[in-house]
């Protein structure tokens, strides 16, 4: 992964950008199917992603092609996986979060309103800041959508899914509209039912030790990741606010310094520059923490939820299987509808076993992926922090020399 230089311009789709894709997942991309997001456009309310595919598979008409997709279409794809019974035994790659530029847009608006009350330099500086922030959010959302697609492409079964192929290839609008109010309400109730059911299902003790252990582990892990994710967000926010304050101090000092050209004012200008530099470093440290730590935690929050969902589905299947067994026994005892009970039982048994088999592998893969991703990110985080701290040391040394030098 490329290291960012101290004076990073906003180079949007440089090599640096490829990095985030591999950050959270350790993927083997093979030549048979490679998916990435080669471009993205941010319009008023939506973001348009250009999904680019390279494939040697015979299912596709061409070897390389691109389509434009929006966020809702990604969600549609994800939901189609979730609803597909055949995939009940897999950890469905978590859906990318909705692109959220509201906070950034609000800030830009406030800045526009407050334009009259600050000097031209201050205004330009703040505007640049906000634009950089906007760009950072933009890059992140692209990365997250890309990760989703790559996970699907890397999964041996999901990559063959027909909907996925349509998603990649069909170059017209998929006419997938977002859920309307009624559907959202239905979803809400479904979720309530599901979580209630989940509690019941989780209560059933599993025969298989492996799954029993996984259940308890995942529950605990998920909660702790959630907590860590929230706290890391808060920490990074304070860090960014402190950097913003330093920015304002630097600009006010600059204004003071430009009032005239006495020694005093020159001094202020120097100090203003110093603050400006320390701010850049602080902001960068915060941004790196955000990328390496916060995003990692957020991603695994979603993945662990997906793993929990898998366990839930298996648990549900187990309960269904046990119920079918009991029904079969009853039917045999009463000697009524035995055939029907037998077929139901067979179906349940098959479903359960199919899920169990793939679930075991999926969960083991999840563990491996998780460990690898954490390792990668933690190592990169440490390296970046070291780099910044050393850079900061140098900067401080030079500033001290300058300040002490002139008496």
């Amino acid at each position: 992964m490329m290291q960012e230089g101290l004076d990073d311009g906003p180079d949007f789709l440089s090599e640096e950008d490829r990095g985030p894709r591999a950050v959270n997942v350790d993927l083997q991309t093979d030549a048979t199917l490679q998916v990435d997001i080669s471009d993205a456009l941010s319009e008023r309310d939506k973001v348009k992603f250009t999904v680019h595919t390279k494939s040697t598979l015979p299912n596709f008409k061409q070897n390389e092609f691109s389509v434009v997709r929006q966020h809702e279409e990604f969600i549609w794809l994800h939901d189609s996986f979730v609803e597909n019974e055949d995939y009940a035994g897999f950890i469905i790659p978590p859906a990318p979060p909705r692109p959220d530029f509201d906070a950034s847009r609000e800030k830009l608006q406030k800045l526009g309103e407050g334009e009259g009350s600050m000097t031209k330099e201050e205004f330009t500086k703040m505007k640049q800041e906000l634009e950089a922030e906007y760009l950072a959010i933009f890059k992140k959302t692209v990365a997250m959508h890309e990760v989703f697609l790559c996970r699907v492409a890397a999964h041996p079964v999901l990559r063959k899914d027909l909907n996925f192929h349509v998603f990649l290839e069909y170059n017209q609008d998929l006419s997938v509209r977002g859920k309307n109010k009624k559907e959202k309400l239905e979803d809400f109730f479904k979720n309530v039912v599901k979580s209630a059911d989940g509690v019941i299902v989780a209560g059933v003790k599993d025969v298989d030790d492996f799954f029993e252990h996984e259940k308890t582990f995942l529950l605990e892990y998920h909660n702790r990741v959630k907590d860590a994710s929230i706290k890391s967000d808060r920490m990074i926010r304070s860090h960014k606010s402190a950097a913003d304050d330093i920015n304002r101090i630097a600009s006010t000092l600059y204004t003071l310094g430009t009032q005239d050209s006495t020694d005093v004012c020159k001094f202020f200008l120097k100090v203003s520059e110093l603050f400006e530099k320390t701010r850049k470093i602080e902001a960068r440290v915060a941004a790196d923490e955000d990328l390496k730590l916060a995003d990692l935690l957020k991603y695994y929050l979603r993945e662990s939820q997906a793993a929990k969902d898998l366990l839930y589905r298996r648990g549900r299947a187990l309960v269904d299987y046990e119920n079918a067994n009991k029904a079969l026994d009853k039917a045999r005892a009463k000697n009524k509808d035995v055939l029907q009970a037998e077929t139901t039982q067979q179906v349940c048994c098959q479903k359960f076993e199919k899920i169990s088999e793939s679930a075991k592998q999926e969960l083991i893969d999840f563990k491996t992926r998780r460990v690898a991703a954490f390792r990668k990110n933690l190592v990169e985080l440490a390296e970046l922090e070291l780099k910044h701290a050393k850079g900061n040391l140098q900067l401080l040394q030079s500033c001290l020399a300058v300040l002490k030098g002139d008496t």
């Binding site: 582990f217 605990e220 892990y221 702790r224 990741v225 907590d227 860590a228 706290k231 890391s232 808060r234 920490m235 926010r237 304070s238 860090h239 606010s241 402190a242 304050d245 330093i246 304002r248 101090i249 006010t252 000092l253 204004t255 003071l256 009032q259 006495t262 020694d263 005093v264 004012c265 001094f267 100090v271 110093l274 320390t278 563990k367 460990v371 954490f374 390792r375 933690l378 190592v379 985080l381 440490a382 390296e383 922090e385 070291l386 701290a389 050393k390 900061n392 040391l393 401080l396 040394q397 500033c399 001290l400 300040l403 002490k404």
Partner: protein, 484 residues
């Protein structure tokens, strides 16, 4: 035991041209002396013989005195003996006065509780009964002093240093008896601010002579100043007065005969605005740093929890190591938060208020001019009335009219003289304000040296922090790499 972060108001000792001593060097300002130490700030006072509004200074210092301060300006004191002041030597016509505000003590209970502070004075001025003395004063006493001075001296055009702000929230916490660091902080900030306030008051030659000031320093028991209650009637009255001032400004526009006043006022207003903004940013920075500290601590705990539930042992170890690193980071940031221009926020707030006081003086001058104009127009009306009476031939009322005219002629003369006096006083005051380093604005060169000193200190502490950060991350890195 309160954690005393003593803040020193660094005053410059001015050099008189004929002094044979070498130009003085900066005694290092020690902002963050350790707990239990008090630093004294000597204030050289100009001679009382000279015209009190004379902006020249007679501060003479000798080498010995300088050494006294330079070498041992930190004196360990115990809390009871807070008034330990250095012996001052009398030099010809210099009079000295040292003031310290220490020993905050809580008296009373619950919502009626209040803090008292010990105000210690050491002086060689003959106006006072003894050379060293101390009294206990509470916050409302300080405010009361300000009110009295404002009423009297502002008519003269003097710039009265403003006291620290009232803070209902801060005081309520203290009253309720919460023994948390924020209320200790608040008391300490207030104590330091009160000390700076008094030091500024006594450095002003006219104010030092004021009997109210002397009474404040000396008298055992002061009558409780009632006008200063937060929501008292007089507070409301003040607000109304301020409002009417604003209206007045709009109706009678003063035709400024002297451009100096106009341009000075503009300068003052600009600076006030900039400093206000700077203060707000510094304040915000200090707060965000504190926030960062607490959120880092919480994050560290959270990561530790995560690490403990992680199955892979190497990752688990690495995560708990990360938690430790973050924890150390938090401690480092904690120290940072204190040095992060804690004092500047305070000093900046002082300067902003001082500039407000200066602006107030300009407004007083405008009011004086208005009074003069009004007196003139009333005189005019009286004269017209007399003329009418003469014409209407009513001799009985004529005498009254003549008396009125005489009265108003006197008033016009008086208000004109008042205006002139205020104008000239104001000029001198502003000049004094700009030149004297204790009261001067931030753009004063001497103050800059202070500022630079603090910045250097800040940078050095930042440097140390970064160093330790490097070590932390260096120990973490191999752990992270060892994850399998």
């Amino acid at each position: 035991m309160l954690n005393l972060l003593v803040i020193v108001m660094h005053t410059h000792l001015q050099n008189k041209p004929f002094t044979p001593t070498p130009p003085e060097t900066d005694p290092p300002t020690d902002i963050f002396s350790e707990e239990g130490y008090t630093v004294q700030t000597p204030i050289k006072h100009p001679s009382l013989h000279t015209n009190i509004l004379e902006p020249k200074f007679n501060g003479i210092q000798s080498d010995e005195e300088l050494d006294l301060f330079a070498g041992k300006h930190i004196q360990p004191t115990n809390h009871t003996n807070s008034g330990a002041l250095l012996e001052e030597e009398e030099h010809g016509d210099t009079f000295e006065l040292n003031i310290a505000v220490t020993n905050p003590e809580k008296m009373g209970d619950g919502m009626n509780a209040f803090m008292t502070y010990k105000v210690s004075t050491q002086t060689s001025l003959p106006a006072f009964r003894s050379k060293t003395f101390s009294v206990r004063r509470r916050f409302s006493d300080f405010l009361g002093l300000y009110e009295k001075l404002l009423v009297k001296q502002s008519l003269m055009g003097c710039i009265i240093p403003p006291p620290p702000q009232k803070s209902v929230v801060g005081m309520t916490k203290v009253k309720v008896g919460k023994e948390d660091p924020s209320s200790a902080d608040f008391v300490e900030k207030r104590r330091a601010a009160l000390e700076r306030y008094l030091q500024r008051v006594v450095v002003h030659p006219a104010l030092l002579q004021d009997p109210d000031v002397q009474e404040f320093l000396e008298k055992e028991e002061l009558p409780r100043a009632v006008n200063t209650q937060a929501l008292s009637g007089s507070g409301f009255l003040k607000m109304i007065n301020k409002a009417s001032d604003a209206v007045n400004k709009m109706t009678i526009k003063m035709n400024e005969s002297d451009n100096w006043f106009e341009s000075k006022l503009q300068e003052v207003e600009n600076e006030e605005q900039l400093l206000r903004r700077l203060h707000a940013s510094f304040d915000s920075l200090v707060n965000h740093r504190k926030e960062l500290c607490s959120s880092t601590a919480m994050f560290a705990k959270s990561v530790a929890m995560l690490g403990s539930s992680e199955e892979n042992s190497a990752l688990s170890r690495a995560l708990s190591q990360l938690a430790e690193v973050e924890d150390k980071l938090e401690q480092l940031q904690q120290e940072q938060a204190f040095s992060d221009f804690f004092i500047f926020t305070e000093l900046l707030a002082d300067y902003v208020r001082l500039l407000g006081a200066v602006r107030g003086c300009f407004e007083q001058r405008v009011k004086a001019w208005q009074r003069w104009q009004e007196a003139q127009s009333t005189l005019q009306k009286k004269r017209e009335a007399e003329a009418k009476l003469l014409w209407a031939n009513k001799p009985d009322k004529l005498q009254q009219a003549k008396d009125d005219i005489t009265e108003w002629e006197a008033k016009v003369g008086q208000s004109e003289r008042d205006f002139e006096r205020i104008s000239s006083t104001l000029r001198k005051e502003v000049h004094r304000f700009e030149v004297r380093p204790e009261t001067s604005n931030l753009l004063h060169k001497e103050k800059c040296r202070d500022f630079r000193h603090h910045i250097v200190k800040y940078l050095e502490s930042l440097h140390r922090t970064q160093h330790r950060l490097v070590k932390c991350w260096e120990t973490f890195l191999p752990e992270a790499k060892a994850i399998v």
